[in-house]
Amino acid sequence: MIRGYLALVLHSHLPFVRHPEAERFLEENWLYEAITETYLPLLAVFERLERDGVPFRLTLSVSPSLAEMLGDPLLQSRYLSHLERLQELAEREVNRTWGDARLSGLARMYLERFRACREAYEGKYQRNLLAALAGLEQRGHLELITSCASHSFLPTLSLVPHAVRSQVAVAVRSHIRHFGGYPRGFWLPECGYYPGVEEFLREQDLHYTFLETHGLLYADRRPRYGVYAPVACPNKVAVFGRDPDSARAVWSSEEGYPGDPVYREFYRDIGFELPLEDLGPFLYDGGLRAHTGIKYWAITAAEGDKAPYQREAALKKCEEHAEQFVRDRLHQAERLRPHMDRPPLIVCPYDAELFGHWWFEGPEWIEALLRRLARSAEKLRMVTASDYLEAHSELQVLQPCFSSWGNKGYAEVWLESSNDWIYRHLHKQAERMQDLARRFPNEKGLRRRALNQAFRELLLAQASDWAFIMKTGTTVPYAVKRTREHIHNFTRIFETVMENEIEQEWLLGLEARNNIFPEIDYRLFGKAST
């Protein structure tokens, strides 16, 4: 007898960072680290489960900007160079730690991991992770969904409906190009929802999306089942709300699993700990330090010295945490079931990069979780949003509430003193793009290329990551530079197109550099559907 459903939803995303003009570029590491620590390990988990005949089913959203990077030949070959350097560094580490009983085993573990990554990436996947994901979807394990073209935080663009529309429309086209199938669902970046955004999802024939808990709870009517059954917006787009308990268990670094003392410490990286001469191949221009991914210490206690990381103990803990998670969800379902006329659905959305990158053991935890869920499938069934809607198509209708999963649940992360200056430009640009599309309804040749590039620059400027970084302060100069760069490029194209003085050489250089969405068509801007 089914007591409940569980929907695990992973959202993978990185902003478009690609700098062919530089030989090596620090921020491209965001992608390389995520491939090494999250995407390849997750693929390995899925393949082990498949090999062992363990049934599993989950939702994975791949943001279009991430998909574009994963499919880009330059970044693919640079990732391999990055792995080579890592492997070289790990070999040096094996020598350096030789005889150190605490660390030498770990150094060898990293060397093994990098070798395995290289083999998998170059051999098995032929550099093409998108095809591997599409295969998992075809074989029924994943439901792939899309997200905004450049991961914009849509509530800040609601003023210009065409801007929102184009974020969704370009995303769907990019998804089809990368994965073949039509996405049924849509991940709202940062769970950023405002009443009315569902119109743009429906226009693109998208059936569902996910909201932060209070997006449902604070709807115009009380949701009959809280967040334990999806609801429908008045226009029929289904909305699934995040379960707060399972969110806390996995996200929180204090009370959640990832903060357990036996797990690996994220911030103690040899890239920042060793003398410069030991980092030889890995230093950036002028000797800049960077994360290497080689980290030897366990979280241990908040104060005092860190203990060396012990892989076996950490993996054992993963099993315990997976068991606890399943037990807690079952308990939750049993508590809810008497109040509902259908089994409750527990929706667990997470950033994919949480697993592996932030929480090193995350992929192993997912593996342990999926194996356990497969064993208790007659009680707690893993579903995707589509599976659920096929089984339970009667939904309460209500109008969800403006919400996000950022601090305090609304827009304050992306709209505050550090980043509010961008919106004046983002709104104006979107209006200008609309002017361009109206004024030049069907251009050919160079002007068409200019208009298409203007569209790309517009989207790149709208990435919520820049505003996020300006607020959180991790690498602010880069985020400011990127925002200014795309505003500058857009404005320059706008002006030169209007004056009929397109700068061909500059434009072609820009096309080659900011080459996201190669098939973009500016005529799409403002069109409701095609």
């Binding site: 921020e27 590491n29 965001w30 003023l159 405002y194 709870l217 604070y218 115009d220 009517r221 009380r222 949701p223 009959r224 089942y225 809280g226 029929k236 969110a247 996200w251 929180s252 670094s253 920042f272 800049l288 330090r289 960077a290 994360h291 809810l336 109040h339 006329d341 259908r342 950033d351 990069e353 949480l354 990158h357 932030w358 339970h392 198509s393 009667e394 939904l395 309460q396 209708v397 209500l398 509430c401 403006f402 950022g406 609304y410 827009a411 304050e412 709209l415 509010d420 919106y423 004046r424 104006k428 996020f468 970084i469 991790t474 100069p477 880069y478 400011v480 530079k481 200014r484 505003i487």
Partner: protein, 230 residues
């Protein structure tokens, strides 16, 4: 910024860096002491930033940890990318931020600004905040040099419009009206769910028994909510 990166900076630059980060170094500090002060300051700033962030934001922040930022001098390239300071148009935009705060930005086109300043009765540039239901308003005096502001909106789940204008001879003269914004709700709606308001998304409605009549629809959400809080 790492210790060795700070070590290659001249003393004067270290002191400037410390001051630009809100630290107040004594004048007689040596390079090593300044470096210690800066490193402690960075650590504290990082902790302060993180404390305000919820788990989702903290995890996401970790995605953007790559490495050392370039030294300040080398990072100045962004300044070469000119972007418009403003668009010289009379306009005011209102953006909802949370149930009580909104962000507004505005501009007054040069010729119109000149005309307004010449208006003999001109007293004060203002933002008039219009609460649409029930209709009420209040004014926020602003300066010509201002171009954006965070505005407190008293009511959640209410519609607001902003008017940019000025007071002249005791009367309000409109320059521009903003878009309408509805503040988000900050709590659970008092509206009970209605049985009639459900919808069938494909599939066959006969397959479902529908909500059990034994349960009071009024009570369910609270029970679900308390189950969630357990």
């Amino acid at each position: 910024m790492t210790r060795e990166r700070l070590r290659i900076m001249p003393l004067a630059e270290l002191a400037t860096l410390a001051r630009s980060n809100g630290l107040e170094p004594a004048d007689d500090l040596g390079a090593e002491e300044l470096i210690e002060l800066l490193l402690e300051g960075y650590q504290e700033m990082r902790q302060e930033r993180e404390e305000g962030n919820n788990p989702s934001v903290r995890v996401e922040e970790a995605k953007f940890e790559a490495g050392e930022e370039e030294p300040p001098a080398a990072g100045a390239g962004a300044e070469n990318l000119s972007i418009p300071q403003r668009y010289n148009e009379t306009r005011v935009v209102l953006m909802a931020r949370d149930p009580h705060w909104a962000y507004a930005y505005w501009d007054v086109e040069d010729a119109q600004a000149a005309r307004t300043r010449r208006d003999s009765g001109f007293e004060q540039l203002v933002l008039r905040v219009q609460d649409l239901q029930p209709a009420s308003s209040f004014d926020i005096p602003i300066q010509w040099s201002d171009s954006s502001w965070y505005i407190y909106l008293p009511n959640q789940d209410a519609d607001y419009v902003l008017e940019l204008g000025y007071l002249a001879s005791g009367r309000f003269r409109l320059l521009a009206r903003s878009n309408q914004v509805r503040t988000p709700r900050e709590g659970i709606s008092g509206e009970a769910p209605e049985e009639s308001e459900s919808l069938f998304l494909g599939g066959s409605p006969e397959a479902f028994a529908g909500p059990s009549s034994a349960m009071s629809s009024e009570a369910i959400p609270q029970r679900i909510l308390s189950a969630m809080r357990e």
